[in-house]
Amino acid sequence: MTREKRLSQLTPYLFLILPLIIYLIWVIGPMFYTFYLSLTNWDGVSTPDFIGLRNYQRLFKDPVFYISLKNNLKWILSFITIPVVAGLALAMALNRSIPGAKAFKASFYSPLVLSLVVCGLIWGWMYQPANGLINATLRAVGLGALARGWLSDKNLVMWAIIAVGIWRQVGYVMVLYLAGLQGVDPGLIDASKVDGCSGWLTFRHVIFPLLTPVTVIVVVISIIDSLRAFDLVSVMTRGGPYNSSSVLANFMYIQAFNNYKMGYGAAISVVLFLISLVFIFIYLWRVLQTEMEY
C-alpha cells in the first residue's frame, strides 16, 4: 500500500475521532453504566451495592410494570393503525391540485410544530371535567351525558392521552406519505388506468405496493415513538390516577427520580431499551437497505 493511499483511507477516521469520542463518553459509556446500575441498589447518594438480578426479579413481580407494559402496547397498537391509515388517506386526498390543498396540508401538519409538553398542557385544559372545552361543548349540544372526567377515570385516561398523541402523529405520517407519493412514477398509474383499473384497484395494486418502503418506516417510527412515550403522560397525569396511565418511561422516571430507586429505575430502562432495540434494528436495516438500492 502506498503512503498516499494509506493516508486517504485514514482521513475519514481522523474526521470521525472527535464525534466518536463524544459519542463514546456521553452515549455509549452511560449506557453501559446504566446496565451496571441496574444490578445495584443505588439510591443516588450512597455507594451502589451490587445486588445481582434482584431488581429484575422484583420488576417482573411488580404489577405496575405490567400495567405500564400493557399501556405501551395499547399505545403501539393505536399508533400503527389509526395515524397510519388516517395519514395515508389524507396524503392520497391532498396529493392532487385541489383548491386549498396547501392550507389543509399545513393545518394537519401544524400540531407537529408544538412540543409534546405544550400539546399535553393544552389538552389537559381541554379535558378538564368541570369547565374544559370538551365537556362544555358536549353539554352545550345536549350530550352532557357523555361528559367524563377524561383524565381522572382509570378506564379512559390512557385512551385520552393516546388520542392527543394520535392527533399530533397524523400530520407527521401524512407528510411522510406525501413525500413517498412524489416517488411514485405517474406512468405506472396512467398505465393502470389504461388497463381499466378503478381508483381503488390502482391504489390497492399499484400505489400501495410502491409505498411499501414508506409504510415500513412509518410503522417502525410509530412503534419507536410509542415506546418513547413519556412527555404527554408526564405532563398530563404523571401516570395517575394510581398508575392507570403509567407507561414504561414514566414508570422508570418515577422510580429513579421521585423515589430515588436509581438501581430499580435502571433495570426498567434496560428492559425498555431491549424492547426498543428490536425495532430500532428493523428500522436501521430498512434504512440501510433503501440506501443500498439507490
Binding site: 477516521y13 466518536l20 463518553i25 447518594v45 381522572s152 382509570k154 404523571r238 421521585n258 423515589n259 430515588y260
Partner: protein
C-alpha cells in the same frame, strides 16, 4: 486497515480517561463575571481623580457563596430574593450566587447537588426525616458552631432544636413553618347558618347542609396525590393518635392493622360515598381545585397556609380556617406543620461565607422579613410577633395548643412508601370497597421498603 483501528481505539480510550479525570468546576467561574460588573462602575464616576480611585478595584476581591433554593412560587420567590439582597447589603464583601429551581425539580436534583464534588454551599430543604437521610450519609455539614455563636440554643424552641440535631450536633436551620387547617368560606357558612365544626358529628352535619344547598362541601385536587395524604394524616391522627401515626410513618406499625382499616372504612369512605368532595378531584392540581372555593362552588378545603398565597387578596376577607375536627376527644391532638429551612453541604467550597449566610437566614432580621411579608411563622423566638395578622396569631395558637406536631405524610415516611401509599389513597378514592386489598399491598411495600433500610 486493521492496523489503524487498534491505535485509534487506544487513543480514544486514553483521551476518554483523561477527560474523565479532569475535575470540572463550572460554578466557580461565575465570580469572574461579577468582578467585571463592579469594575465597570468605577471609571464612570469620576474620570478626573483617577489616582484616588485606584484603590477601589482592590476592594473588589469579593468572596462568594452559592445558594440554591426551591422557593419557586411567585410570592416566596420574591421574598427569597429580597433576603439575599438584604444579606448582600449587610455583607458587601460576599456575593450570593443565587439560583431558584422549580420545587419538584429541586427535590429530584438534590441528590446530584449533594454528591457533586463542588456542591452549592447553602440549600433549602425540609426539616425532619428528609434532612436526616442526608445527615446520616455525611452529606450535610455540622453547624453546631453557628448555633452556639448565634445563641440559637436559647432562642430556638427545644422542639425545633431537636428537629435539627443528630447525636447532639446541629446540622439544620429550621427557618419557617406553616400550619394545616380546614379553610372555609365564612360568607357561605353564614348564608346557611353554619358554625365552624369542632366535632366529627358537627362536621358531617355541615357537609350535609352544604350538599343539600347545592354547594360542594369539600374542594380537593388530587392530580398530584399529596392533597389526599393530608386527609389520611389527619384522619389517622384523630382516630388513632399521633403516636401511632408516626410509628406507621417510620415503618414500625403495619398498614394492614385493623386500626388503619377503620380510618378508611368508617371515616374517609363515607365522605367519598356521600359525595362530600367535589367531582373528579383527580383531574385538578391543588391550585386548580382552589377555583371551586374562590367561585363559591365549594366551601371547605383542607390545606396548608400557602393556600393564602394563591388566594385573591380582595376575596380573602371571606376566608377563614378551623382546626380539623376532633373525632375522639380521648386521643391527643396532632397537627401537620411542615417546617422548611436551610443547610450547608458537607463538601461546601465556601464554608465561612456559607456559615455567615446561614447565620443570617436563621437570624432575627431574615425571619422577621419572611414572617411579615409571606405570613409564614418564624422559628426564632426573638422575632417580634406583635405585628402578626389575626390569621398568623390564630395559626400560631392552633399549633401551640397541639399535643404533637407532624411534618406531612411524604416528609414523615420514605419517598418510596409515600409514592405507593398515595397511589393507594387514589385507588381507594375510586373504589372505597377495595380498601382491604389496597392496604394489603401497602403492607407488602412497607415490609420491602423498611427491610432495606
Amino acid at each position: 486497515m486493521k492496523k489503524f483501528v487498534f491505535p485509534l481505539l487506544a487513543a480514544m480510550t486514553i483521551l476518554a480517561l483523561v477527560a474523565a479525570c479532569q475535575p470540572e468546576t463550572v460554578t466557580v467561574e461565575v465570580p469572574v463575571e461579577r468582578t467585571v460588573e463592579v469594575q465597570v462602575e468605577v471609571p464612570v464616576e469620576r474620570t478626573v481623580e483617577v489616582e484616588v480611585e485606584v484603590e477601589v478595584p482592590v476592594e473588589v476581591e469579593k468572596s462568594l457563596v452559592i445558594y440554591n433554593s426551591y422557593m419557586s412560587d411567585p410570592a416566596p420567590r420574591e421574598a427569597d430574593a429580597e433576603q439575599v439582597r438584604m444579606f448582600e447589603e449587610m455583607y458587601p464583601n460576599i456575593d450570593v450566587v443565587h439560583s431558584t429551581v422549580a420545587h419538584e425539580d429541586f427535590k429530584q436534583a438534590i441528590r446530584a447537588y449533594l454528591t457533586a464534588s463542588t456542591p452549592p454551599d447553602v440549600m433549602t430543604w425540609f426539616a425532619g426525616n428528609r434532612a436526616r437521610f442526608f445527615i446520616d450519609k455525611d452529606l450535610i455539614m455540622d453547624i453546631s458552631d453557628v448555633w452556639e455563636r448565634e445563641g440559637w440554643n436559647e432562642t430556638y424552641p427545644a422542639g425545633f432544636r431537636a428537629m435539627s440535631s443528630v447525636g447532639g450536633k446541629q446540622y439544620f436551620v429550621p427557618a419557617s413553618w406553616y400550619w394545616w387547617a380546614v379553610y372555609y368560606r365564612a360568607d357561605i357558612f353564614d348564608q346557611y347558618g353554619l358554625e365552624p365544626p369542632e366535632t366529627w358529628a358537627d362536621f358531617l352535619q355541615v357537609c350535609e347542609t352544604l350538599k343539600e344547598n347545592g354547594v360542594a362541601p369539600i374542594a380537593i385536587g388530587t392530580k398530584y396525590r399529596w392533597t389526599s395524604a393530608a386527609w389520611f394524616d389527619y384522619l389517622n391522627m384523630r382516630v388513632n393518635g399521633p403516636e401511632f401515626h408516626i410509628d406507621l410513618m417510620l415503618g414500625k406499625e403495619s398498614y394492614d392493622d385493623p386500626r388503619v382499616l377503620t380510618v378508611f372504612s368508617d371515616y374517609w369512605a363515607p365522605l367519598i360515598e356521600n359525595g362530600y368532595f367535589i367531582e373528579d378531584p383527580a383531574a385538578y392540581s391543588w391550585s386548580e381545585a382552589l377555583q371551586f372555593l374562590i367561585n363559591g362552588e365549594a366551601a371547605m378545603y383542607l390545606m396548608g397556609d400557602f393556600l393564602r398565597d394563591s388566594y385573591p387578596d380582595e376575596e380573602e376577607a371571606n376566608l377563614d380556617f378551623f382546626r380539623f375536627p376532633i373525632i375522639d376527644p380521648a386521643v391527643p391532638v396532632g397537627e401537620d406543620a411542615p417546617t422548611d429551612g436551610y443547610f450547608i453541604a458537607a463538601n461546601a467550597q465556601h464554608v465561612e461565607e456559607a456559615k455567615q449566610f446561614i447565620a443570617f437566614l436563621g437570624g432575627v432580621e431574615a425571619q422577621q422579613y419572611f414572617a411579615d411579608n409571606l405570613g409564614r411563622l418564624p422559628t426564632n423566638m426573638e422575632v417580634d410577633t406583635g405585628g402578626f395578622t389575626d390569621m398568623q396569631k390564630k395559626g400560631l395558637a392552633l399549633i401551640q395548643s397541639a399535643d404533637f406536631v407532624a411534618q406531612f405524610y411524604d416528609r414523615d415516611t420514605t419517598p418510596e412508601m409515600a409514592d405507593v401509599g398515595m397511589n393507594g389513597f387514589m385507588e381507594f378514592w375510586d373504589n372505597p370497597g377495595d380498601i382491604a386489598d389496597i392496604l394489603a399491598r401497602l403492607e407488602a411495600t412497607r415490609q420491602e421498603v423498611f427491610a432495606e433500610e
